[in-house]
Amino acid sequence: MSMNDPIARGLAAGWNVTDASKLSENRTVEADVVVIGTGAGGGTTAEILARQGLSVILVEEGRLYYQKDFKMDELTSYANLYQEGMSRVTADGAIAILQGRCVGGSTTVNWTSSFRTPDETLTYWSQELGLEGLAPDAMAPWFEGREQRHNMAPWETPPNLNNDILRQGCEKLGYSWQVIPRNVKGCWNSGYCGVGCPTNAKQGALLTTIPGALDHKAQLFHGLRAERLVMSQDRIDHLLASAMGPDGVTPSGIMVTLKARQFVVAASAIGSPGLLLRSQLPDPYQRVGKRSFIHPVNATVARMPAKIDPFYGAPQSIYSDEFNFKAGTDGPAGYKLEVPPLHPAMAAGVVPGHGQPQRDNLGQLPWMQSVIALLRDGFHPDSPGGTVSLRDDGSPVLDYPITDYLWQGLRKAYLTMAEIQFAAGAEAVQAMHLDSDWYTTWNQARDAINNLPMKPHRARLFTAHQMGGCSMGTDPKTSVVNGFGEHHHIANLNIHDASIFPTSIGANPQLSVYALAARNSSRLAQRLANSA
């Protein structure tokens, strides 16, 4: 393996990394801090604490994959790098959940879009929810710091045609559009972000904060699932974790006990509430797992006269916020417009169908363009979100009922996306919905979309952004942690991931997670230094 790869180099240089599938007997380890999860939140936390001289252990359920494994292959990547082998869905199966499960978490497989939390969202949190410390001015330096750490900047290369169609359509219709900031360094513009960056250009947790933590003597266990936080009196005493076998999904029976004076949970908006519920931690007002948000996503596809090759080029480079906050922060459901990359397995999984029509649809892939809408959920009273609970086997599952309020937003989003695609010259447009035909004019599409049944399963829905479930707030009756991610009832427990968001973000959340985790980790480092 090339020694130009920082992970290979670090491992060779003696990083303290343990593949739990190789453990042959139970063991107990101890550190100042145990961080559960290695995504945007966990990686940031581990690096900041380790740089302060604290001993840190990182626990990751997924395995460590890096450049040697990233071969631009969809099937192996979806099977290995995503939660439940890319089969994760909501409780009723109506919404597909795309979420990372590997060292680096979703930042290893995301499409690199790097937005600050919108001012409207921060203002809503600080003014409506009482989280005064999170006002836009107060958060700005934290965003700036993380933008530097992850090399985030607006994409300067011209967008691929898939993205440019969104720009062209918005231009024609007078809708605003902007260039997306991306967290890349020396990007080859190839389009394979979603299957693990093959060129080490993506500056996700895997190539930034995780190496930063390991360089400062942090220890990483991968293939190790956090089962239960165990309390002794009013504090967390240890974490009980089970090793996965070589397949990465079946427990081997080996258990690891991790002791620390401080625990930070950053296991995602599904994993973190799941861990707290399994651990039966104090939750007097039953807030854990409540108000889970997902930015529900729907999509349209267009057949364009020119070749789009939607599988090549930076997957996301243009967005439109024209409809995101248009009707006010807590008005009718707003949505952000973006573009997804379309590789064959992704396209075949997303476009519902079978037989000759499916073959004909997928045969047009090089001419296919797609737009997605990400609904901003959690701001309006009729968008209370979903609930994370535990299955019989202790694994977490998200139940997300779609309210009429959201259905209205989804229908409007279908209309907007079709309108934009026709404005950009589409020959035909199809909504990703079991009852949608290919429409050849905007008028035809508008009439048909206005009559599509807005029902679970028939409308094809997705989420790549899981948020909430351990909401932050000032009142323990309505939240799990305070504005610094500190648990309301347990002194040595912090939560540093997207699960603490009290609403959705209204933008791809990675920078929101990085920034909040950096802010809250700096405070935690200070507190731990004072109590040492």
Partner: protein
């Protein structure tokens, strides 16, 4: 492993253990625990392991970890309808493409983990257990005798049904099949996908470990 096949006829789900879940539409029922009772009796839902090349055209080296003999028969019946117009015409190539896709479906499901495996077990069992297959799928004969036209009609019925549960079954069956088929290198040409750019493959160390 072949003993599982030999004894499968004796493994009928225990009817007395079934539980019924009303879907609220036309009194349709979903046998949620057919799989549980069938599983308890032992055989029909056991992974098929290695399958003889003679009767299936499977790669005999491939070890099935999730799909049972009955599940394989189900997909052998469904895939010709699922990929009408996409499968090779030549009989051996066609069988090879179907068999390879079923193996990849099995590989994919292994990584789904226990919870979703259990969901699929329920789905496959209700499609393989004659009373539920007839009641919910309206498929009257065993899968090995189902024609491509009948398999297509079944898929359409579930797609167009007003019952969300059946729509969900359609999505589950088509999604795992579509991904395993169109996502594989052998079938990229069908979607006009040229694959990873050759210049990248040439330049990147993970494809040139000796360099």
């Amino acid at each position: 492993m072949t003993s599982q096949h030999d004894t499968k006829n004796s493994c009928q789900p225990d009817v007395s253990r079934r539980s019924f879940l009303k879907t609220g539409l036309g009194g349709a029922v979903f046998l949620s625990t057919v799989s549980l009772s069938a599983g308890l009796t032992g055989c029909a839902t056991a992974p098929a392991g290695r399958v003889s090349a003679v009767d299936s055209r499977m790669d005999t080296r491939y070890q099935f970890q999730f799909l049972s003999r009955d599940d394989i028969a189900l997909f052998e019946a469904l895939l010709p309808a699922m990929f009408a117009g996409a499968l090779p015409e030549e009989p051996n190539q066609r069988r090879f493409a179907i068999a390879g896709t079923i193996e990849r479906i099995d590989q994919g499901i292994v990584k789904f983990g226990p919870a979703n495996q259990q969901e699929l077990r329920k789905l496959f069992d209700l499609l393989n257990f004659a009373p539920t297959r007839i009641a919910l799928a309206r498929v009257w004969s065993d899968w090995p005798s189902v024609s491509t036209a009948d398999a297509d009609a079944f898929l359409r019925r579930w797609r167009d049904s007003r019952i969300g549960l059946l729509n969900n079954g359609y999505i589950a069956l088509t999604k795992i099949s579509n991904v395993a088929f169109y996502g594989h290198e052998d079938h990229w040409h069908l979607s006009g996908y040229p694959g990873p750019p050759a210049w990248m493959v040439d330049a990147l160390p993970q494809f040139n470990p000796a360099a």
